[in-house]
Symmetry: C2
Subunit: 135 residues, 2 copies
Amino acid sequence: MANIKNKLSEKGLKITPQRLSILEAVYNLSHPTADDIIKYIRQKHSNIATGTVYKVLDTFIQKGLIKKVTTDKDVIRYDGLLIHHHHLHSSKDILIKDYIDEELDKILNDYFQKKKIKNFKIEEITLQIRGKFKK
Amino acid sequence: MANIKNKLSEKGLKITPQRLSILEAVYNLSHPTADDIIKYIRQKHSNIATGTVYKVLDTFIQKGLIKKVTTDKDVIRYDGLLIHHHHLHSSKDILIKDYIDEELDKILNDYFQKKKIKNFKIEEITLQIRGKFKK
DNA sequence: TCCTAAAAGAGAACAGTTCTCATATAAGGA
DNA sequence: TCCTTATATGAGAACTGTTCTCTTTTAGGA
């Protein structure tokens, strides 16, 4: 909690109850939509306006506190995990899991160090790995 | 055009002017939204109902004639390129380009042949390469 | 040519997101 | 601690993209 407050002030953001609970929600939920976040806060903390949630999420993205997740759906999902990682996507449903693999990242870096893409400067490579989760 | 008709009948779909022009639009436009497709058809061919476009695009996806593009935006984009490929995403704007690289695909296949992901069966790996296009 | 299942059209409904503007509040300074 | 003010929030309207409903039209086989 003090941790979350620090993250806000590090970025020069005013500490408000809404911002604290939104950031907490993003950290505790897995790749949530704005609606997931709203429900989480309303049940756990107190009421919050939907507009506030969208605006705060935008601010957090601007400041690099969270990221958007890329999917082929028309709802936006958010991600609080900031270290470089990839995503495992279920081919059946909407389940998404984080996938961290430094060895793979090294292979990709080495590969694109040698093989340049014409007229393009790479900033970040993320894999979408689609498949089936076994239980 | 005869080509497009073949693709429809191969999948057991009735050949209608709407389907022909939607498929043509997806082939001629680069990762279009439904709205891009509607505008293209209205200007080039004739009027078409928006509901028809969405429904036909859905049918095409079901039959494997096109795919959705994954982005972090809340509009869905479609892709007519069916061979396995990756995407270069502009970090500034919405520009997306196809990236085909069989050598890379082989490296990834080999890598994941050795290194299994626990409780997950990979079906397809696509890279999102984010960066800057130079002109 | 006729018949019928399937497709398309029109627009209402819906969901997700953004906008507007009045009110409330965080946080720096007196 | 109390003011002050820039900034944030709330409430709900507006907007955008997508889906749904229901009627009319049409493709394509008999």
